[in-house]
Structures are given as C-alpha cells and as structure tokens.
C-alpha cells in the first residue's frame, strides 16, 4: 500500500506539470503578456511595465508600474542598440536593463518585477555616449558599450546575478561604434554604425573574432547597419540600415562567418519622400515570414516578406504614419511582437519622446497590412527618450 501511495505520488508529480502545460496551451490568452521599457532617463532611470490587453484588432497596453533600476540613463542613443535583454524563452526569469549613464546593468526578476542588483564591467566599459546593448543566452550576457567600444562578458548566476568575466575591444573599420547586437548559439553578430559588421564565436564565453569583419554592401551607398537579428536556425543575419531608403541587408551565416551582405532597398531610393527614411531597426516575426522595420526618421513601420530558406527579402507593406509623430515623439525605436507565434499579430513600437505605439499585423503570406490600434500610442511618462522595449514572454529565438 505504501508502495502504491508512493507510486501514485510520483505519477502525480510527473503528470501535474504536463497537465498544467497543456492547460496553458489551450488558453494562451490567460498568460499575462508584459511589455518592459528601458526608460533611459538622465536621473533615476526606470523600466516601466505594461500589461497587454484589449481584443482582437483592438490591442491595448495598460501601465502597471515603473521599476527603479537605481542607475542613470542618457536619454537616447543609437537606434539599433538593444537596451533590454531576456532569455528567448517563456521560462525566462531575468530581465536585464542597461543604465548607460552609470554604465551598469540592472537585473530584474520578471515575475516579481523587482530589482535584484546592478552590475558593472571593467572600469573601462563606458556607454555614456549612445547606450549599452545587450544579448544573452542561458549562461552569458554580452554587453556592448558604445563609448569605450568594448564588449563585456558576464556569466549569469542564480538569482539573475551577473559576474564580470572580462571584456574585449572592438575596432570598427570606419571609426564607428558598436550598436546592434544579436546572439544565436555561439555566434554573436554586431553592427558598428559606420558600415562595418563583424561576428564572434562565444563558445568559450568571452567572444573571439571570427575574422570576418567587413564593410556591408550598403556601405558604398552610405547605408549603415545599425541593428541586427538572426534567424532561428542561425542561417542568416539581418541588418536594419540607417539609410535614406528603407533598406535591410542579409548575410549568410551558415559557414559560421558573415558572408558579404545582400542589399535590399525597399523604400523610396532617391528623394526620401514617403515611407522609407531610415530603417535602423529590423526584427523578424516569430515565424520568420516577415521582417518588421522601423522607419526611424519618418514615423512609419514597414513589413517586408522574408524567405527563411533563401534569405530573400521582398516588398511587403507600410503602416500609416504613427500617431503623434514629431508631436511630441520624434523617432521610431525598436519594435517587438506581442505573440510568440505566427506573425506576432501585434507590434509594440518604441517611440522616442516618449510613448509606445501599437500596430496590428495581418498577413496572407503574400500580402500584409499594418494598422495602428485605436489605443495607440500609450504614453511612457518617465522616459525622455524611449528607444528599447522588450516583451515577455519573448519571441522564442
């Protein structure tokens, strides 16, 4: 009998999580979706938290609270710099928020939404000019400091505690600074905002160069990669360019090194009229069928179709100009998808000045629409210059 009871308890213990998981799967809407910001304020910077809500076609965001990171921001910087980092998993527990003004990184418990500590790299690591970008995997967090042009490596311990392991200096080819960063497996890809790009191997923790630093193809036209994303299978790196037309570049990473990029010009190529001034941030949809692009300097969002097998990019659709552009907000920053599958269905867009735009996505696979929600934008009062946001649960890669 005792053995039977023990057996039942063991079986129950094994079955319960599965039952819970399947319950979660059947009712995805019951799991709260949070949007976190890096408010990047000059004094007492915060990460503000919003709860996703609303109905199909009418998504909303509701402010929850602002978490004081205890550090300082700088109120702006490079568009492509990711100022928030989270493990690309629904089991992520830690959110890291960079404080560029005080050159530290705050660790936040996603569930309790409390600060667990702040961490610094070496005394040389400095992001006070244009921010600190971050990417992470299960074991390491990599922080790119824009002023010192260094990448610091931290190991991630229990309770979101970071331990500084060391840093490396980067040397952009044309005098630029580190901006965009993306990590897939052991490959770290960075963009230097001066037209040059590079990848590193992180297998041993601290990055080592893959000896593939090069000027992107767009460099010849003064199109400068600013942000980076990598496909889930690690096959392609995608760069959003600071460029007058809407421009993305795709590099084949299958060899473990960056191949010369293929340039895709999607917007007005000459007079910069209408959608297509500065495509500095680009991000794949969860199903990798679309690349979402912030047209940072004219307030639009573009979606371009992406073939994840060939890496080819073709035209898609543009949003209307997002509400309140230039009055009061000025640049479109990073964007994130609400849902972790399909197209993501809803885009959250960081608006520098400061608010969060909400954009509905529809796609048939060959045609798409981007329409701003009636509830958009949502003000982010504590941010003088919002450029980076992060969604939980995050896109799974």
């Amino acid at each position: 009998m005792k053995q039977l009871l023990i057996a039942l308890m063991v079986v129950s213990a094994l079955i319960a999580p599965a039952v819970l998981c399947s319950a979660n799967k059947s009712k995805p809407s019951t799991s709260p979706i949070y949007v976190f910001t890096n408010d990047d304020a000059l004094r007492h910077t915060y990460s503000s938290v919003y709860l996703a809500g609303g109905s199909q076609g009418s998504p909303t965001l509701t402010f929850q609270q602002s978490i004081n990171t205890t550090g300082l921001g700088i109120g702006g910087g490079f568009f492509g710099t990711p100022r928030l980092a989270m493990l690309p998993s629904s089991s992520a527990q830690c959110l890291f928020v960079s404080d560029a003004g005080s050159s530290d990184i705050a660790a936040i418990n996603i569930q309790t939404q409390t600060v667990l500590g702040t961490f610094q790299g070496s005394t040389n690591d400095n992001g006070t000019s244009n921010g600190i970008g971050m990417v992470m995997n299960q074991n390491y967090l990599y922080a790119g400091y824009t002023l010192s042009n260094t990448i610091a490596t931290f190991s991630i311990g229990a309770g979101c505690q970071l331990s500084f392991l060391g840093d490396i200096a980067v040397t952009p080819l044309n005098g630029g600074w580190i901006a965009g960063m993306a990590l897939n497996g052991n490959v770290l890809v960075v963009a230097y905002i001066d037209g040059s790009i590079q990848s590193f191997n992180t297998a041993s923790g601290i990055p080592t160069s893959n000896n593939d630093e090069q000027n992107a193809t767009g460099f010849a036209s003064a199109y400068f990669p600013d942000s980076v994303d990598i496909t889930q299978d690690g096959h392609f790196a995608i760069f959003g360019d600071a460029a007058v037309p809407t421009t993305v570049e795709v590099s084949d990473l299958s060899s473990g090194k960056l191949a010369p990029t293929v340039l895709y010009i999607l917007g007005a190529a000459t007079n910069a009229i209408g959608p297509g001034i500065n495509s500095a941030t680009a991000r794949l949809s969860p199903d990798e069928s679309l690349i979402y692009i912030s047209n940072s300097q004219n307030g639009y969002v573009t979606a371009a179709f992406f073939n994840r097998n060939t890496g080819k990019v073709t035209g898609g659709c543009n949003s209307p100009q997002l509400a309140n552009f230039y009055n009061p907000w000025a640049y479109v920053g990073s964007l994130q998808t609400r849902d972790t599958t399909g197209t993501g269905n809803v885009l959250y867009v960081a608006e520098f000045g400061s608010s969060i735009g909400i954009v509905n996505v529809t796609s048939t696979g060959t045609a798409c629409t981007l329409t701003e929600s009636a509830a958009s934008p949502v003000t982010d009062d504590l941010s003088p210059g919002l450029l980076s946001i992060q969604v939980f649960p995050p896109r799974p890669f």
């Binding site: 109120g75 702006g76 910087g77 490079f78 568009f79 492509g80 710099t81 006070t128 000019s129 244009n130 921010g131 044309n174 005098g175 630029g176 901006a179 905002i193 001066d194 036209s221 003064a222 400068f224 600013d226 600071a242 460029a243 007058v244 190529a269 000459t270 007079n271 910069a272 009229i273 001034i277 500065n278 500095a280 940072s296 300097q297 004219n298 307030g299 100009q321 552009f325 230039y326 009055n327 009061p328 000025a330 640049y331 520098f352 000045g353 210059g385 450029l387």
Partner: protein, 535 residues
C-alpha cells in the same frame, strides 16, 4: 667639448624660450559676465586700402572653453577680432598667420570624413592654394556675403588651406565698387573643422562703408553674437552659451552684459549672428514693452523703405542693422532673443537675455566712431533689377538627414532633386553647373525634422517665395532659414532667385546649411559657374 657646451646652452635657452612661450596667453582675455559691452576695435581703410595682420590662435581659456582668436596687435596690445571697415572699391590686404596648436578641441570628433582636397585643375604658384589635407590645425577664411571672386587669395574655401606654421597667407581683393554698404563678416571655413574654430570665437565683422538712410549721426553699436560650447565628456555638442562681443549672456545664472544709453537718444545697431547653430529672434524691450525698431539693412543689403519690426529673426550667419528708439527716461531695457522652434529633432534654441540697457542723462555712451568720408556706391548697385529678370533655369534642391541614433552621428545632405543624397566630400564634383549670365530660381525644401539655414557663397539671392507663396516685397539675403518639416504635409520651402551675372564670380564655390555643424557634417555642395562665351 666647448662646442658641446655651446650646444647644451643653446638647447637650454631654446627649451626655456619654448617653455615661456607656451606659458604665455595665446588669446586675449575675454570679458567677464556682467561687464560693459564695448564695440570691437575698428580698423578703417586709409587712402583706398586696409592692411591687417592677424593671427589665428587657440587656447583653453580660464572659462574652460576652447578659444580660437583672431589676434591683432594694436598699440602693443593684443586685440581680438577687429572690425574691418572699407569703402566700395577699396583694397583689403589681410595677412593671416595660422598658429593653431594642439589640443584643438575639448570633445572628440564625430565621424571620420574624407579630408583630402584634390589639387585644382590649374596648379597655383602658392602651395596653400592647391588643396591637400584638412587637419584640425588647418584654416582658411571666408568673407561672408561678399560678392568677390572664388579664387585663391580672395574668397576660395575649397582649395585654400593654410596649415599651422605656414608663412602668413595674404588675402588681397578689392571691395566691389557697386556693392551695397552694410555688414558682412569673416570666419574660418575649413571643411570638417569650421565648427570648432567658429565655436571658439573665430569671427569678426566687416563693413562696406556708405550711407544707410536714417542712420547718419547716430551712435553705432556693433554687436557680434557668438556661441561657445563646453562638453568635454561627449562628442555631442551639448550645453552652450551665447556671448555678446565675447561676454557670456547667462542671465539669470549670472549678471547680463550691459550697455549705457543716453535717454531719448536713438542708436544704430548692427548685429551679427556669428553663432554656429542658434537662430535668433531679436527683440528690444523697454520696461515690459517690446519696441518697434526700424530695420534698415539685412545681410548687408539696405532696405528701402526700412521695415518696422518688433522682432527680427536672423539665422546663423545673418545680419540685421536697425535703429533702436531712444530709451525713455528712468527706464531700463533688455535686448533678448525669444528663442526659435528648430523642430522635433532640432537643437535647443531657448530664449535668452542678451544684454541690459541702462539709461543716463550724461554723455557716457560711446560716441559714434569717427568715420572717414565714404565713397559713394557705384550708380547701379549689385543685384538691381533681379526681381523683374527672367530666370534662365529653375532647380529644386532639398535638405535631408540620416542618423544612426537620437544623438547622431548624423549624415547631413543637400541634394539636387533626382540625385542621390550623399555626404559632401571635398573631392566631389560640382552638383550644379551653370554659366555666367544665368539667372536661376531655386526652390529649396527641408525634408528634415529640424530647421536648416540655406547659404550660398559669392552672391546674394532674392527671396521670391516661402512655401510656394510669393513674398510681397522680396529682399536680398545670403542666408535664410527653412523651418523644420512637421512630419506630415508638404515640405517647408523657399524659392530664391540667383544672379550669376557677375563675371568676377566665375569658378567653383559652395552652397550649404550655415548651421556649421551640419555644414561640417556634409550638408554642402559645389556649384561651378563657367565663364560665358559672351564675355
């Protein structure tokens, strides 16, 4: 051994001399906040010519700003940025010595740019006229607004590069006999380095003398508004101060610069906006009442009739000359800028008191400078008849920007419509080619979220339309602001008429945004004006 001793002594003497020289002040001291504002030293032409020896030097001042000073020795004293006064037809001989030394700046540079200037098609005998490298210590001089030749030793800023330590470089040209009396100015123009030098204070006024109606006998004030930056920890220009004749205008954080005016006495004010990026909305206020001033000249061109204004907007590089009404008894006045909306991504351009005006019954005000009799301007002033002239060509251009972040670095473009925007490099071919005799209408749009300031060398232009709406009484300018694009709707624009009829301006010169940071950042292009077969 004796030879060695001699050499050692020589070395020691040299070392001491170098140490003493380096310890000396390179630039004159600048006035402290709350001081009396006085006119810059006037240097008048005599017997048809003016010869001036100036040295451009730099030094971090006790105020911790990096000073760039046009130094002139007057009666054994070092004077900064004298005012040059010449009559139409006079000859200016300006010998400029470049003594710029490291450290050059207090904040690192933004982006590496192409700084090599190719040799001109025809090699010049003077090495300083043949292009080469533009270094932080390189300079040259632009005579802003002057309608003189774009050639070496006159007003060439493309191939003329004066390196530190070079022998004095002579600028030598005649003031055109048919030029209008009015206010012009001189400043450095080495591409990529002009911001640092101008922000450091390297600029001065130049007057073509002559009678401007209504100003005879009035006390004259020459006010040069500059801007200085001090942000050692960032490449972002950041916090800055306006100065009035080098005195910081910091009120309420510090006492205002001030002047004394005789109660009831009208004065003739000649104001130069020598700031690198500040649009000034100037106003004279007595008590709390803004005063109506009579604007008699803009950008060196007399107005007929004068304009009655209670606020004058002058962009960077602009000049306004106006008659200020007498200060009523027992009142004080303020000369201020009301600030300017530079657009959603423009530089902050806040209101600022520039100086206080105190009244007196005694004659403590500075008397008008004793001016030699000026020559009359030639019968037919330059640019007359331009309004009714038939344009031979129309062109469309636009300002735009591309940035990698909210703080930049930004690429600045001025582009002929249909061409691809690109950052200007000194080895670029001309974007526009025309011929002497051409009369051209240019429409210049602003596609950017911040204001820009159109300027062209060698000629003034007639402002014909703003946003496509004809201007009722077109005036001549050499710099004019185009407001920021609001983000929606048509782009703000100006339409200007260019007169390339003077054969003296044949050659290659530049047009650009006169926000100097934008100019240095690439918002510039060349125009080549070919000689006409008819001449």
């Amino acid at each position: 051994m004796r030879v060695m001793m001699k050499a050692t002594w020589l070395f020691l003497i040299c070392a001491i001399a170098v140490t003493v020289a380096s310890a000396q002040d390179m630039c004159p001291a600048r006035p402290l906040p709350g001081s009396l504002v006085v006119n810059p030293l006037d240097l008048f032409s005599q017997n048809g010519s003016l010869t001036v020896n100036m040295t451009l030097e730099n030094q971090e001042g006790t105020d911790h700003f990096m000073h760039y000073c046009y130094s002139y020795i007057y009666q054994g004293q070092q004077i900064e940025a004298p005012t040059l006064r010449l009559n139409p037809g006079d000859q200016l001989n300006l010998n400029l010595t470049n003594s710029i030394q490291a450290p050059y700046d207090k904040y690192p540079k933004k982006m590496q740019m192409s700084m090599h200037v190719p040799q001109p098609a025809t090699k010049q005998p003077d090495a300083d006229c043949n292009g080469g490298m533009i270094l932080p210590s390189t300079t040259n001089m632009h005579f802003h607004g002057m309608n003189i030749a774009p050639i070496c030793h006159q007003d060439d800023v493309i191939y003329t590069l004066i390196q530190s330590g070079d022998p004095p470089f002579q600028y030598n040209f005649q003031i055109p006999p048919n030029d209008n009396p009015g206010m012009y100015w001189y400043h450095p123009h080495p591409h990529g380095e002009a911001t640092t030098q101008i922000d450091g204070g390297a600029s001065g006024a130049l007057f073509i003398e002559g009678t401007i109606n209504g100003t005879q006998g009035l006390p004259e004030r020459v006010l040069v508004i500059r801007q200085q930056f001090n942000n050692p920890n960032s490449w972002i220009p950041g916090p800055n101060q306006l100065t009035v004749n080098y005195q910081p205008a910091l009120f309420p954080d510090a006492p205002s610069p001030y002047i004394n005016m005789q109660y009831g006495q009208q004065e003739f004010w000649r104001v130069l906006n020598a700031t690198s990026q500040s649009f000034l909305s100037l106003q004279v206020v007595y008590g709390t009442t803004p005063q109506q001033v009579q604007v008699v000249a803009l950008d060196g061109i007399p107005l007929s009739p004068p304009l009655a204004e209670n606020q004058i907007v002058i962009p960077p590089a602009g000049r306004a000359e106006f008659i200020v009404p007498g200060l009523p008894s027992n009142q004080e006045g303020i000369f201020l800028t009301n600030g300017y909306a530079t657009g959603a991504v423009g530089n902050a351009n806040p209101p600022q008191d520039l100086l206080k005006m105190f009244g007196t019954d005694s004659a403590r005000v500075e008397p008008p400078p004793a001016r030699p009799a000026s020559k009359p301007t030639a019968d037919r002033p330059r640019f007359s008849g331009l309004l009714t002239a038939q344009p031979t060509t129309t062109r469309s251009l636009y300002f735009s920007e591309q940035t990698v972040g909210s703080n930049g670095p930004t690429q600045y473009f001025i582009t002929v419509a249909g061409e691809k925007p690109h950052v200007f490099h000194m080895d670029d071919p001309p974007s526009i080619t025309t011929t002497i005799g051409a009369i051209e209408d240019w429409t210049i749009e602003n596609h950017a979220g911040e204001a820009h300031d159109f300027h062209i060398h060698q000629v003034h232009f007639l402002l014909m339309a703003i946003n496509g709406v004809p201007v009722q009484n077109p005036e001549l300018y050499d710099s004019y602001p185009i407001p920021a694009w609001s983000g929606t709707g048509p782009y703000p624009s100006i339409t200007v008429r260019m007169d390339f009829s003077d054969p003296n301006i044949a050659g290659t010169f530049v047009y650009h945004c006169h926000i100097i940071d934008h100019e240095d950042g690439g918002m510039m292009a060349k125009i080549q004006v070919n000689p006409s077969n008819k001449h």
